[in-house]
Amino acid sequence: MSDFSGMEDLLQDFLQEAHDLLSDVDNKLVDLEKTPDDKGLLNDIFRGFHTVKGGAGFLNATELVTLCHLTENLFDRLRNGELELTAELMDVIMDATKGVREMFGELGQGVQPQPADARVIAALQGALNGELPTSGAPAAAEPPPVQAPPPSSAPGGEPDWASLQSAITGEPVKAAQGELITRAEAEPVKASAAATPAVAGGKDTAPSPFGRRASDRPAATASNSRRAEERGRENTIRVDTSRLDQVLNLSGEIGLTKNRLTSLRADILAGKSDSETLHALDQAVSQLDLLVSDLQNSVMKTRMQPIGRLFQKYPRIARDLARQLGKDVELVLAGEETEVDKTMIEDLADPLIHLIRNAVDHGVEMPDERAAAGKPAKSLVRLEARQEGDHIVLIIADDGKGMSAERIRAKAVDKGLISEEEANTLDERQSLNLIFLPGFSTKTQISDVSGRGVGMDVVKTNIQKLNGSVEIRSEPGKGSVFLISLPLTLAILPVLLVLLGDQPFALPLSLVREILPIDQQRVQEVGGKETLVVRGEVLPVISLAKLLGWPADRSPEYGVFMQTAERSFILGVDSFAGRDDAVIKSLEDFRPKGVAGVTTLSNGQIVLILDMKELLTDFSQHGDTGMAIRNFEFS
């Protein structure tokens, strides 16, 4: 049951906005480590917690209010120069931020957050009293800062407090003060923050206003955050109103054009068919055509979100991991404003986290190694997004030690993923791609962030699910670059229409490298399989007819050079019908193997969109060209 019945909308709004705020705070915290005295940053972070606290109050999320309140007070001290930002204090703050995020997770499931980890609360209160969790920290030597006098203290030498207060609260002085005190009591935050004596590390010092034991918390944390992650998908989207206005405008205009068509139909049905009427009909239809495609574009745009929303959380992740590993890494973001389809942003979260962790963990060297190599101690990992034509390109680049093709080959042979002979035929690029093979990366990396382990093979599979591709470039000693290329949107798929006889089929254009005529004279039989040499590369020729189990009564005339995740090959077809932007309709109840969906051509004909990967898997299992394909798997 939800603790928020009647407030679901408010809760959704709050969570979305508060999530953004917290990501912003996270980034500012990373910046703050570089410039601990930046008053502007301190102020912004203070305001972040303050704002979340204010909103949480309306949701009666007492525990969230408490945690934010303490953290906010800490930043108040910091910005006033009453406290000094030490590494230990930074850890306390990071823990508090993590606690806030976990509470968002609980709220997202419609339950009131559990009290924060008692140790975090104790550490915060300790820090507020000038005691840091680790003894011997420089700030601990300073005298504890003076606490603000509690509201009930005698107003000596103050301005005319009573009358001032009465003036704005509009109440007699006594009552007003009474109200103030009641408020302070009603809100456990204020009471606990002021009255609880803070002892660092003390379990019992945490406020437990509702009789819950604070020590219940740590055990619950892991499963809670896991659940939060799984439910993390947002069902709402924030759209610039100007984009919605455009959709509205266009639908209005389509309405007008429809009216025009209705009246023309009446005319034509009444027997009017002079050139003027037909011309008007032609005009109206062309206009409708234009408007509908504009409308499609506009609707698509409402789904586009700046990728910065995803990028935001990565500097913090990189920083935490680097610190854990004893490395000095800065994650530099670029192109945050690049817009990507919302569903894609969600599906990119895990692969990107993995690649960033990979860069920090494996790509970047330890500080002493860097010094020995004559590199600056701090390593830069660059995360960049940009649009190139109808593609989005994501780049994760590090300035670390790079990857050695030789060592990767050796490891793959070692693990029995490829044979010695196969290894010898691989060039540099093909060798680097070996890291995407299932079973290559031994470490079962459990991501702190996603809560589940992902290997490089999963990264590749996830990107491919989005019709994208990953490429690696690496220079030993200088660093590695992962290039991810993605289509702008998943709703429209650029396809190549090929013909088998008269029957058209659609192939995802992203897999097509080139189209070439198949000269039967040049087709060579290798081990009983047909192959063709294209610029020195031996590629298997697979006829689409065979793949579909059709009778292959004639040899294919054209070949489509295709590159899927695992293999390159030439798909033999009879002819082409051109390229098209297919709007994919998925087959919901009935999904034949090897068919990704259907689309309709302009003439109304229904065309199957082929899922090459599935078709090929099926094909290999039947053994026909299985070996041949296997041999060229890494081409």
């Binding site: 709050f14 204010g54 109050g57 309306f58 509201p151 109440e171 302070a184």
Partner: protein, 131 residues
């Protein structure tokens, strides 16, 4: 000035969820003529455009905070008569004093209910009605 349901409000807060909360509470009280601003600077621009009769503002905001907004309103001849209700998360004495000295018409602490808001508004309406 009576509690005219057509009273034009300007709600100032950098947190859109909060603006929505205040807007909803005002609606609950029968006030539907509400505009919003994201910070003091934007609020001031809107106010200078004219037509507003009541300002409800948060304290802590980027660019221009609520207190500066209040002080600017009081220092601007065309705006200084406007009732300004301050919303804050703190019941701190220093804050209340600062708000009162700057000329706030009222002060309300988050979180609050429609009832509390109504009470504060009515007091301000009464006060302005008498003046």
């Amino acid at each position: 000035m009576a509690a005219d349901p057509k009273t034009r409000f300007l709600v100032v807060d950098d947190f859109s969820t909060m603006r929505r909360i205040v807007r909803n509470l005002l609606k609950e009280l029968g006030f539907t003529n509400v505009d919003e601003a994201e910070d003091g600077a934007i609020a001031l621009q809107k106010l200078q455009g004219g037509g507003f009769e009541f300002v409800v503002t948060d304290w802590n905001m980027p660019n221009m905070d609520g207190l500066t907004l209040l002080q600017t309103i009081r220092a601007t001849p065309t705006l200084k008569h406007l009732p300004v209700l301050m919303i804050t998360a703190e019941a701190k004495k220093e804050n209340i004093i600062a708000a009162a000295q700057a000329g706030a018409s009222g002060y309300i602490v988050k979180p609050f209910t429609a009832g509390t808001l109504s009470e504060k508004l009515n007091k301000i309406f009464e006060k302005y009605g008498q003046a």
